[in-house]
Amino acid sequence: MVLEELLAIAEKETAARKPTCIRCCMAAGCMSSRAAEIKETIQRVATEKDLISKVEVRRVGCMGSCGQGPMVSVEPGGLLYQHVTPENAPSIVDALIGGTAQAELGDPKHPFFARQTLVVCANSGRIDPERIEDYIEAEGYTTLHHVLLEMQPAQVVEAVLKSGLRGRGGAGYPTGLKWGTVAKSPGTHKFVICNGDEGDPGAFMDRSVLESDPYRVLEGMAIAGYAVGASQAFIYVRAEYPLAVSRLQTAIRQAKQHGLLGIGIFESTFNFDVELRIGAGAFVCGEETALMASIEGKRGQPHPRPPFPAESGLWGYPTLINNVETFANIAPILKNGPEWYADLGTEKSKGTKVFSLTGKIRNTGLIEVPIGITIREIVEELGGGAPDGAKVKAVQTGGPSGGCIPAAHFDTPVDYESLVKLGSIMGSGGMVVMDDQTNMVDVARFYMQFCMEESCGKCIPCRAGTVQMYNLLTKIVERRGTLQDLEQLEELCDLVKHTSLCGLGQTAPNPVLSTLRYFRNEYLDLLQSE
């Protein structure tokens, strides 16, 4: 593959485009409501009505508003149909030739769409995630070409550093610094790992990115490989995401066929190979050292850091490990320049962040917003508030490692530091909205049960502490708890937080601590009066 061939593919694609494009969302959410049948119906009806020379029916990834799915969009015209069924799908085609569409029309100008800034999700819901030609037409792989032929690895690291991109897996470590450390680590054998073990319940950003635009992640990984001097990569995805796995397999195969993975990419001396590894349902494998143990075929148990993976990772070699969303940001950063990216976001947290907005909220789905937007804007404007006139009480961010942010603090900007100050974390991007019907002690117990069952059992504070905390929380929920139980719970929180080996245990008390901080009265109300 050389640049001319790449451009020729893009040109051929553009030339083959038809005047009208009907896009059918075929990400996992819509697929569960007969999206495949809808696409087939639209395709069939368009053929029957002899429109197929003018109309393209395209399979695309997530359009964002999964709660309103299945979604179908029509261009030109910018029409967005929601809650489409195979029964009313034919009318969408009819509407092209003067008929009336029976399917419900959505509002693409709604703040849910209008307030978003798309970087990671720019191709999501637009390109066919199973055709590399579509990605190439959307200027895919031109950045990799530019990087390989016109940039030195150190310049790439410098650019990523300058962009201010921070790890999107949750911890927010500056990506450029991590790349720099791996690049400087001695040795010729290094690895790149993409962490797609999205374990936080209530979060599906990585799933959506992998299902909607897997090539972008592969391109980002290849750029990373060049920057740090690695030629072998792994991408670790949860087994719970069968569609993401199959689309990635397709993407890797196509990239290899096109010479965009493998030996001598773009006729340079750079070789890069990506292997897919499927997780097996262990939350702790989202922790980087546990994930590497799992790739090595072992039980997913973490080990203490240092040494950090950047120095001694997979099989003891220097390893760069980043999240799916982090890699998805790389190509746009190098294409548009680090300054462009640094203009988005806040002083300390640059760029955009993808969130999955779920729970007791009107517009559920996937959003990508500039960092620094307030929680109120997300919940009230994009999300449209709680349904059925209920009142939003809190938003949970960061999953079992995060905390609940009460409505009183909704004017806080969403960035790494502000959320930590509130006792929560940015996390990987799950935002679960809770209304006044939600019992916060029960939520804390829910997360504690999760951590208790997912604790790998290696270190005692986490293995035994989570069980004790769960028992105390159960006692309180069942109105059998006393003030001493609450005191003991707080003591245990402190102990487990400070003495556990890995992130799982260290953050397991967070949901309890944050609900105690803001909703202590709910705990006190449940205590036995003596």
Binding site: A282, G365, F446
Partner: protein, 166 residues
Amino acid sequence: MKVRKPALPSPDKRWKIADAKMRRLGYKAHALIETLHAVQESFGYLDDEALRFLAVALHVPPSKVYGVATFYNFFSLKPQGAHTCVVCLGTACYVKGADKILGAIEKHCGIKSGETTSDKQLSLLTARCIGACAIGPAVIYDGVVAGHQTPEQTVAKLHGILAHGT
């Protein structure tokens, strides 16, 4: 060192799928999880014979193979029922009442999560989060995800599956 092809436990063709996976990864120890996936996909679960075979083929102590197979939630050491029903208990599904759905199924079928009915027709499982949060509560019936479920719908659906397969 030349890698010797391991003797397959039986002429059953499904072992060849597992063997192909191991061969592709050079019969190295790190092929263990990938191969367990392949075996479970072909046979539905992992029995003692499979675990012993993998231990020999990959030169991993049987204790470690057993350790890995039992560490990960996804692997099952017992055969599953003819049908499976997985209730997602992720946060988004939970705050929308997934616990009530699970409760209704447990009551209706007389089994707890993780169990199989005595007639081996239905296995009831729970998932941490299947990422279908926007359409929660979600339930997977025989591998097909259904969103916006209610306890009544779920019980009716299972009734249909057990009575006539869909």
